[in-house]
Symmetry: C3
Subunit: 326 residues, 3 copies
């Protein structure tokens, strides 16, 4: 994109309410937005949230290995940042265990500073809660620590640093940790809409939101147009687990398909409800179910407009469904 944009039209209130519109190159602004959108989906190096396979121990324990380090991460095409990562990806590798599993996570700290891991939304013994120096000693640079607990509760959990979390988390040190199966409100009728007893979930998408640090405004560690597009067919049922690992709220708006909020922080709601815009605050998770009812390209984005658009075009917290007819 080679257009030149000469004047910034901010979304801020101007003192006197006047805009000197004569000097604005409106065509350039139009073109910048159009070109930025047509660049989607864009290729970048690296993909976060990849499943992590355990090694199974003699006693059945599932053992996972995480390495924390500062590594290059391509947030958007051509923009490489010094991310703080688990196993070199943002979000860190996705861990999924069954209810009742014995879990061991070995953390190798290759960061230049200390760290620890808090298992947010997951029941653990106190000495595994990851709050140095209260529940464990700090895991200093170069050290290793072994976390061990039993997966006693279903969870839409997350793991992230607690020590200097204001630096380590925004810069990339967060991951998804799921325990057990997602419990859907099958057969229930909610606001007059029946959820089929026998529906099959075609996509289960953890969607991690960030807005600060070197990662910045992003979905699963990537900024538009590098965000992942989602492809489905008319009639597909989709589960999304929203995770907010940022510092601000993000009201996530899905065009066309109402979202049934069926769990808060991984705990099923006895009374699910529908919304087209789901507001997630830092630390919260909302699990939603939706049906791809119509074909076409349907964008899906944070509705804080400055988190998705700027004079240079679309960016940040936007992706889209590409729904094929059947």
């Amino acid at each position: 994109m080679e257009t030149t944009i000469t004047v910034t039209e901010g979304a801020e209130a101007s003192g006197d309410g006047h805009q000197d519109t004569e000097d604005v190159d409106w065509d350039a602004l139009d073109d910048a937005m159009t070109q930025s959108i047509l660049a989607f989906p864009a290729e970048t190096e690296g993909k976060g949230n990849q499943g992590l396979e355990p090694t199974i121990q003699a006693d059945g324990t599932k053992e996972y290995h995480l390495t924390a380090a500062i590594t290059k991460w391509e947030v958007e095409p051509g923009k490489f940042v010094d991310a703080w990562t688990y196993n070199g990806m943002v979000p860190g590798p996705q861990i999924r265990v069954d209810l009742g599993d014995k879990v061991r996570v070995i953390l190798d700290n290759q960061l230049p500073m200390g760290t620890d891991i808090h298992w947010h939304g997951i029941h653990t013994p106190n000495n595994m809660d990851g709050v140095a120096p209260l529940t464990q000693d700090l895991i200093k640079s170069g050290e290793t620590f072994v976390y061990e607990f039993e997966a006693v509760n279903p969870a839409v959990g997350m793991y992230h640093a607690h020590h200097h979390g204001h630096v380590q988390i925004p810069n990339g040190m967060f991951g998804v940790f799921l325990i057990g199966d997602t419990q859907l409100p099958l057969g229930q009728t909610i606001s007059g809409i029946e959820i089929p007893q026998n529906l099959e979930v075609t996509h289960e998408i953890p969607m991690v939101l960030n807005d600060a640090g070197v990662i910045g405004l992003s979905l699963n560690g990537k900024s538009f147009p590098a965000t992942e597009p989602y492809v489905g067919k008319v009639g597909d049922w989709v589960v999304v687990h929203y995770y907010n690992e940022g510092l601000q709220i993000h009201p996530m708006h899905q065009h066309q398909f109402p979202q049934l909020i069926f769990a808060k922080d991984g705990i099923p709601l006895d009374n699910p409800y529908w919304a087209d815009t789901v507001n997630i605050a830092p630390g919260e998770r909302y699990s939603v179910l939706l049906r791809l009812s119509d074909p076409g390209v349907w964008v899906w984005h944070c509705h804080i407009l400055t988190h998705v658009e700027r004079d240079e075009g679309m960016f940040g917290m936007v992706t889209a469904w590409i729904v094929e007819d059947v």
Copy 2:
């Protein structure tokens, strides 16, 4: 108001916790607040949210005409801004159709740049979703576009620009689009309070919140004391549809009258609940029912204090009920 205010007391944390209070003209601050409140309600030119009448076509289609342009708008007494408007008003004209109606909206773009309209919360074919260049071509300056869809779902919807929405929406390009009748929880008992089976709604108020652009902190396009006052009688039942078209949350606090939240984004809740403060995030809508139980003047405002008060007095996101005894 001719008082002089000599020192600003900010709501920001000061570094050392000390305040040099000796130089503050406290009486002037008192007077500024009092005078600013007594100025309510203030006359301004222009009123947003006015109902738009369709022309009915031979096949029953309801046809609406919208013109997008930059026009003068009096946000508060004497403050005229270059608003981006539909039909010269902020919010744009209110459109209300029945379930099953065929709808046609002809948009004439008199802005200096391109635009499009997204029908937020409304079910449409993909090529009517208003996301240029993905679902349609950009409607360039001087061009016209025809949106057509059938109103297949009840909706507390909104329409607004999507293209450079971070500029066009905060500056005024948003409107209310209602489909069908509001479905109230009549006859239900909620937290021990029975909602009468036969209640009559005396006021149905779409309340659009904004906080940025040239419109700034406002209710339905006006800043206090130019916000619209609401007049009712003891015993009246009121429906409010909150719409957030801004960039921040707004927790709307109604003095005295609890608000029954009965729909989220236009979809009725199976389990409504009461609140005195309703937090609306960007893109969200909450529909509430309340009863004017007591006579008097009862203010109604955003509870982010800096959205309603400043040293110069009350401003922004405040209005009031004037409830007459019977």
Copy 3:
């Protein structure tokens, strides 16, 4: 703590994504965080939220005396600020009355400017609503005003200034006002978890959140490590009433113990639900029930990371449960 921290690592996005990490004294950052946490709990002068005893009048009226004044307040160890207080404490004294009580509050205004009191979430006659000059005259500096009303509804209410609330409230002028008993969902089964019919509440904690003014980021008027620690035993049931008197949202995360949200703004929910992170917006109150299920030290904090951590260590909106085994 005598460590020297040479370079600030902000949580802000950097323009180019590069961090010049070579000049950072990482050990100093590690040590600063550790020492700041070990300083908890720290002694400071003054405790807010202390119960206020009424004088009982001949007709049974409960009479309370409040004095508004600018007084010194130790927000964190060694940091004294010029707080705006009721009876010299932040939050102001806690008032608790029974349903049906006649209440009189005599306010003596020793501030340098006018004030008034709004009884947020409490039903009062209009002339007691505390919105000068609409419902009463301003209570000028040096004047006294008598508020009188009957406690006709149960309430998790708060009292605070309305006049120049953007200055007076963030600086400390807020307090807790409870009417009647907390109505718990005893005997209900919520998301598969049964709430015992006969549970005994061992702690009832009003937790007032602030983030601005001279008080700043704080829980009940104190910043970590001066925040109050909470001590309980395994099996204890705890009620928390969150109050947001600040200007921002605060998603409060309790490690390990899920929080059952059973009332919004003091009104019991017919359908309570669980969360590990409860997001409270300005003006809102959420009442939650939780069970101390496990021994240990479990932190409890706002999940906006910059509200709890900075390069110099932990601060602000953090406290902890110290749970003893039985």
